[in-house]
């Protein structure tokens, strides 16, 4: 698929997103979705493009969420400063975790990220400023740049859209740059990349920090939009969630994480309604109970994706398109 058609599609998507408050779609849910789409895209930089599986990415999402939330609520900083602090927290945590984790490869790398994330979880659980199990509640939205009132849901939505689109463009730029090419080389064959003279450790650390920083931005933005930060954000199931989003959407594709995040968030929030819809459609009453089986359905999707849709939704779609084009040629 050439660049122009891809760009047209992204443009169309952007138009749809811009129109959201006007076509009756609930903007707060889309804001949450945008944040997670950013989180998944940042994670995909690491997994899909560099081949590094981190099972502790929740540490960056949640850690930054708490710092931003605290800054906004307790120190009363303006919104843009809160977001900046959150992103910086992500970067710093990423640097700390990354420098330790990249010393090892493969499954050991993954395990170190998990261990360090668990320690951060414990820290967040014990520290009073996070509010423990109750979470950090009542984070104010305040004003952006002093005059844009974020209390209005619509305005907050457009600001969120702007920031996530900008971050996504940054990721796009990274992927299509020489830096991105080196990452792909590392994923395919690290020893060969080293033999070509690249200091792969430095690149791995850099992409880790970038991924963590952008995850931090996603976390801070989510805190700003939703008004709270809780332990769910630092729990290992959140780390698992983002892996699922990326896998379902399509590893190593740019649009994959967006689709994956949509699917997973929609499932979490709307399974009950999907169940009723399916029950009405097929007449099978069992579907009505679907709302209580979120974990079961997610598990089922995991299994199906690994066995049949390994390339994820977008991966399969793109492969289909390529094959179709191949037939054309």
């Amino acid at each position: 698929m050439n660049t122009t058609s891809k760009n047209i599609l992204y443009g169309l998507l952007l138009l749809v997103l811009l129109a959201v408050p006007f076509i009756g779609i609930y903007p707060v849910l889309v804001m949450k979705l945008l944040c997670f789409a950013l989180f998944a895209s940042a994670f995909n930089l690491l997994l899909g493009y560099t081949g590094l599986l981190s099972f502790g990415h929740a540490a960056f999402l949640g850690g930054s969420a708490y710092v931003a939330g605290h800054a906004l609520k307790v120190w009363g900083v303006p919104a843009e400063l809160g977001l900046l602090l959150g992103t910086l927290t992500g970067a710093v945590l990423g640097w700390l975790v990354g420098s330790l984790a990249i010393r090892r490869q493969g499954i050991y790398f993954t395990m170190i990220t998990l261990a360090l994330a668990q320690m951060l979880f414990f820290f967040c659980l014990q520290m009073p400023f996070t509010g423990g199990e109750d979470g950090l509640q009542g984070v104010p939205r305040g004003h952006l740049l002093g005059f844009i009132d974020l209390g209005n849901d619509r305005i907050m939505y457009y600001v969120t859209l702007l920031i996530t689109v900008a971050a996504f463009l940054l990721i796009m730029r990274i992927v299509h740059s020489p830096f991105g090419q080196i990452l792909k080389a590392i994923k395919e064959n690290e020893p060969r990349a080293i033999s070509l003279g690249y200091d792969t450790q430095r690149f791995k650390l850099l992409v880790f920090v970038l991924s963590a920083a952008l995850s931090g931005l996603a976390g801070s933005l989510k805190t700003l939009a939703m008004g709270f930060a809780t332990l769910t954000d630092v729990h290992w199931s959140m780390s698992g969630s983002v892996v699922l989003m990326t896998l379902v959407g399509g590893l190593g594709t740019l649009s994959g994480p967006l689709v994956g995040a949509t699917v997973v968030i929609a499932l979490e929030n709307k399974l009950g309604e999907i169940g009723h819809f399916l029950a009405g459609l097929t007449g099978i009453d069992w579907f009505n109970g679907l709302g209580e089986s979120v974990t079961m359905v997610i598990g089922f999707i995991f299994v199906v994706c690994v066995l049949a849709f390994r390339r994820g939704i977008m991966g399969e779609v793109i492969a289909l398109v390529e094959r179709w084009r191949g037939k054309q040629a």
């Binding site: 599986l53 330790l100 010393r103 090892r104 493969g106 499954i107 050991y108 993954t110 395990m111 170190i112 998990l114 261990a115 360090l116 668990q118 320690m119 979880f121 414990f122 014990q126 290992w236 698992g240 892996v243 699922l244 896998l247 109970g289 209580e292 089986s293 974990t295 079961m296 359905v297 997610i298 598990g299 089922f300 999707i301 995991f302 299994v303 199906v304 994706c305 690994v306 066995l307 390994r310």
Partner: protein, 292 residues
């Protein structure tokens, strides 16, 4: 005599309890290590299959009036059988792939299994009484007899497994099959069958741990969730691929956890991760492992 303010008798009690927990960790991580060592699959379903062992034990008593001792033999067999089915249906497709897929696939199976049982039985847990009642007064603490039995049973099973894998011909085939399956197949050994049976055996161990756990922990569909992460850490610390290492680490970790519960109880769930991080940084192949 006091250690850091804790009287010796109390400390002894905690160490003994730690040993009991450690023996659970040992059996569970043994199954996981065997599967990882021989199949290269990170079996996230281990926690759920452990839980299944416990649930089957409960079912056996409540639906068929089969007592604990019958279930001790039957439940692991059933779980092992399920393991064989899982391996044939799902796992065989992903061996060539990255570890990630094995982990995600088994995670998916876990969620499904837990979800189904949860909607059937709720989460509060189903009661199951210990088959060996009474307790022995050891002087420094009262030790329930059943827990003593658990330690003994676990040690016997662990030692037997270690012996089979490290010291017998069958074990040699298994170990060779991991290193070079083609060559072993060329010798006429049915490697795929061996792999299937190994997975079945590994999860049967988990099921066995589940049966042993039923009287101690409340039988609940979620009982595997907390254990699975700790068991993973144990396997990583011990050294993925080293059977003896896993057993010793499981026991050792139980004791360390027990001590943490005395001196800094809030951290008792996290201490295993601290140790894992340290071990991974200093000795990445694990305390007893060999770098592959």
């Amino acid at each position: 005599m006091d250690f850091f303010g804790i009287p010796l008798s109390a400390l002894m009690g905690q160490l003994l309890l730690g040993l009991v927990n450690g023996s659970f960790y040992a059996i569970l991580s043994l199954g996981l290590a065997v599967i990882f060592g021989l199949l290269n699959v990170i079996n996230f379903a281990h926690g759920a299959l452990f839980m299944l062992g416990a649930v089957l034990t409960w079912m056996g008593l409540n639906y068929l009036e089969l007592n604990f001792w019958v279930m001790l033999a039957l439940a692991p067999l059933l779980v092992g059988l399920l393991g064989v089915v899982i391996e044939r249906l799902f796992l065989r497709w992903i061996y060539r792939l990255d570890h990630l897929y094995g982990l995600l696939l088994t995670l998916g199976l876990t969620l499904m299994l837990e979800g189904v049982l949860r909607s059937a039985y709720g989460v509060s847990g189903l009661p199951y009484s210990a088959p060996i009642s009474g307790a022995t007064n050891l002087g420094f603490m009262v030790m329930p007899n059943y827990r003593g039995f658990v330690v003994l049973a676990s040690l016997v099973v662990c030692f037997a497994t270690w012996y089979v894998i490290e010291k017998t011909k069958l074990g040699a085939y298994l170990r060779a099959g991991t290193e070079n399956p083609r060559l072993v197949e060329a010798f006429g050994i049915n490697v795929p069958l061996m792999v299937t049976l190994t997975y079945g055996f590994g999860v049967a161990l988990a099921g066995l741990a589940g049966v042993l756990a039923a009287p101690i922990m409340q039988v609940s569909p979620l009982m595997g969730q907390n254990l699975i992460i700790i068991v993973f850490a144990v396997v990583v610390i011990g050294g993925m691929g080293s059977i003896l290492g896993t057993i010793l680490t499981g026991l050792g970790l139980g004791i360390v956890e027990g001590l943490t519960k005395v001196f800094y109880p809030e951290a008792s769930s996290t201490v295993v991760f601290v140790i894992m991080a340290i071990v991974l940084l200093i000795r990445p192949a694990g305390l007893f492992g060999k770098e592959k």
